[in-house]
Symmetry: C2
Subunit: 352 residues, 2 copies
Amino acid sequence: MSEYKVALIGFGGVNRALAELAAEKNWHWERELGFRLKIVGVSDLHLGSVVSPGGIDLDALRNLPRDKGAFEKLPGGKAAQETEQVIRTCGADIVAEATFTNPRDGEPASSYCRLALDSGISVVTTNKGPVAFHAKSLKRAAEENGAFFEFEGTVMSGTPVIRFAKESLAGSDLIGFEGILNGTSNFVLSSMESDGLSFGEAVKKAQTLGYAEADPTADIEGHDVGLKVTILANELLGAQLRPWDVACEGIGGLTAQALQDAAAANARWKLIGSAIKAPDGTVQASVKPKLLPLENSLAGVGSAVNAITFKTKVLGDVTVQGPGAGRVETAYALLSDIISIHKKKTAGGASK
Amino acid sequence: MSEYKVALIGFGGVNRALAELAAEKNWHWERELGFRLKIVGVSDLHLGSVVSPGGIDLDALRNLPRDKGAFEKLPGGKAAQETEQVIRTCGADIVAEATFTNPRDGEPASSYCRLALDSGISVVTTNKGPVAFHAKSLKRAAEENGAFFEFEGTVMSGTPVIRFAKESLAGSDLIGFEGILNGTSNFVLSSMESDGLSFGEAVKKAQTLGYAEADPTADIEGHDVGLKVTILANELLGAQLRPWDVACEGIGGLTAQALQDAAAANARWKLIGSAIKAPDGTVQASVKPKLLPLENSLAGVGSAVNAITFKTKVLGDVTVQGPGAGRVETAYALLSDIISIHKKKTAGGASK
């Protein structure tokens, strides 16, 4: 049995859910997965920092109020966010980075990831920024320092599509993918079609139900999907795309009438992120609304659900459908990354 | 780079497709997967046997006519099937068993698998019989002899659902599954609904198009799905079912009228194989037609496509959809099993 010492960077919904899962399931993970988690450091813009190499009490952590500077009340805690200090001093084996995505340059999360990896600490992250902008150099940093860099949760939250494509579909000659990779825009389109809502009304409904943020721009205009397409194309198809290389067209131009006309013709508009590798190895990637016939596996994916179809030469199309958001679901992605690290370590491969 | 010496038991569509894949892709697999395959023995009821520890010429093998006793023409070949002799003498590291499923007791394939495993030779198989009847004892034989027993292709052909559930969904608290696991019956139901065909007419159409065998009983009455449910429930949910423990009801009782009435009510009849684990660990499994609302991810799965929804406590429902048959697709399942064995061997775990 192993115990991994984990530092949580960001303590919003996702990392708090990871702490909750650990509090509830550590005993179960010990038996089923062969390891338990000990949280030794946390840093959060709003709550402050805490360093406790002996382990933070998980019940105290999960029940911590959301008040500004709340970490001050814990042993080893401070009201100020001191992320670098936490990474340097808490003695973590693994950093779980779950702060918000900065779509311009992936900072400061990318620097936190790099600091950890350069120190030989593995990183698991749900943050699209560091991966979309710097996956290659961060993976190299991991390799050079005997650490691991895992990011399953950046694309479909807990639904394990990156690992499915890389591991379960190995040898199937993957040549591309197309996916519904944003729950907010899919919910908006579903509402416009089924309830006849205007675009604005559907966005408002999504906000009321918690499917859309106060500023839904990144979801609606396709930029969130653009980052995910960048991550997948680089990781699965060997592309070297930067986020701005992926042309993004959002769903703002679609009317309820257009959606209902499509439905009458046995088709459905979906916001599709896709990439395809040409025989010469070049990769064409895009984000745009596409009209899918109802027979397409993605056409039936409604509400805020996500799905992706992998295009392979040997097997044809294989589709995975599951949640693409949710705090517990996304925390599970971090757990699945830690499981992957555990497997690699116990297989006797890497040193750390 | 490794080279695996493979014996092919059964040389119908699937193992012939594996030989074709090896002939075309060995150079590619060397680079991408780190190994190549050498076929050192083949045995087939109709074609005879061939043993060639130095490797059978792959082009001669893939182009071999389908005439009775045809192996006689190859160096080291005989017109007679001598499966045990082939396994004992060809020097294989891996036996690829792809003969027809015997739904009564899994023989003689089970004995072939056991002979190989007892000799320390790993087995990959697409044959439901040995797995549904004897998975536990065959896995134990593999373990005791430093070999591996892999059977991804027994459930959804090349679509890697067993490995997805065991590896990619580890830690998600899997409590059950429901799936469309038989392409023939799904094609028949789809044709009855969309074309208004009677059951008999739809079966005939499926036979004409090659989706159904001359005797479609096992597909139509649910027994094929019953074997798959047995395999999945035992492997994923820790059940100890024998095939006859799974109650099977087929699709013969459904009329075109019933299917069209369901469609008018936004629902669809599907033949569903399912199992669910109760909190006390007991597993309830069944095969029967179920009326699914169109929002269910399985309702949109048409024609001969297969799909399975895994029920997890942490992630909710995750669905995988893909081919459930096809000679190349099923041969890919054997390749994916060999990839899995290669990973375990190169991870430094087992001895063989």
